[in-house]
Symmetry: C2
Subunit: 226 residues, 2 copies
């Protein structure tokens, strides 16, 4: 026994309902204050503070003090990917959630995953990119082809600028609702950003749901049919 890294240490951090809810909220990619997270977690401020200290100590979240606020955020996309993986299992072996509900179906169609697009729409985009050989994916790695570079330029995303950053340009992130990959990395983030700028979609306040406008929906369809 005691092979490999200590699973239980990390898992038990996620294993508390209050902390799990906080982490879910942080999956939106936004940095939230302790009070906001207390609300999300359904606990009092002192309790939330103690939880956040543990998460921070455990390396799952980072904290940035800004004036009298302290902003908490996920420690990285790796943590986000892990949370998606757990969500996947929870959904498949899950408690057979009785009524999916409208919020749930909206989440399945399009949502934020850390900072990029997930759900049916995210997977559809990823599929299109790989099928048209605009993107070459192997496992969690992914790389743009020359054609892909042109495609994104045409769409309006400045790939060259993104490449200067330390963060990987393309990543494949496993989607919990569809169980297939969607585009992550700085390119994934920039793409979603651009869709917001084009007014194709907007975020629903206080949730991970991304709502497409009728126009946006049509344009998106056109984009991935072309």
């Amino acid at each position: 026994m005691k092979d490999g890294p200590d699973l239980s240490r990390i898992a038990s951090l996620v294993g508390d309902p209050a902390r799990a809810n906080m982490l879910s909220a942080l999956m939106s990619g936004a940095a939230l204050t302790a009070s906001e997270l207390a609300l999300e977690g359904g606990v009092g401020l002192p309790t939330a503070s103690s939880h956040l200290a543990k998460l921070s100590e455990g390396g799952l979240v980072t904290v940035a003090s800004q004036g009298r606020h302290r902003y908490y955020a996920l420690a990285g996309s790796e943590v986000a990917a892990m949370l998606e993986a757990i969500s996947g299992v929870a959904a498949s072996v899950g408690p057979r959630r009785v009524r999916p509900g409208p919020r749930d179906s909206a989440m399945r169609e399009a949502r934020i995953c850390y900072d990029h697009l997930a759900g049916d729409k995210g997977v559809a985009l990823f599929d299109h990119l790989t099928q048209k050989r605009l993107l070459k994916a192997s496992g969690q790695e992914a790389a743009l082809t020359p054609n892909g570079r042109a495609w994104f330029a045409d769409f309006g995303v400045d790939v060259a600028q993104l490449e200067n950053k330390r963060r990987p340009l393309c990543r494949a992130c496993l989607d919990w609702s569809v169980r297939r990959s969607h585009l992550a990395g700085s390119l994934g983030a920039a793409t979603l950003e651009h869709m917001f700028a084009l007014n194709w979609a907007r975020r629903e306040a206080g949730s991970r749901v991304v709502r497409f406008t009728p126009k946006g929906r049509a344009e998106f369809e056109r984009l991935i049919r072309a």
Copy 2:
């Protein structure tokens, strides 16, 4: 809050040290009896039994009664993938494991992941396959090209027979030590099986470590250099 599936329910199952050790042991892919798992978990038989009941109830493991033995196994590769994802985070933000130790480096080189090859060797194989366009991977999905089919036939794996099974032929599984993908699915399992049959490697008793023989190491090198 209460977006998506219930993370904490699953995570808390993995969050207990005894259960985490048991699950780690099951990552070897073998089905183990309750007494063996009690040993792995470092707890008494009654305790282990209670843990196993919870894991089974939670859908993480399956149980098969055979005579007076009850064999427990991971519920599926999805659960295995989740455990690898958690391992990845645990390793990266980890408790700065002081001494990696020989066992650890052996695990990094080659180990069993559920039923296929993981570690440096597993990733090297996967890289070779995708680079030579023998395998086309996109996210967690992967598909053999015609060339790839020939390559595996040449190696000695009967692909056609594997395709009849319900289980997917190819999958990409994220490796916790290397953080890149290795080959999973029935093809991944059959490949490792064949390597054992060729005497290229054997399993170390009571652990996930796969030890390559000198001959096996050389042959493997040749295989992925060709």
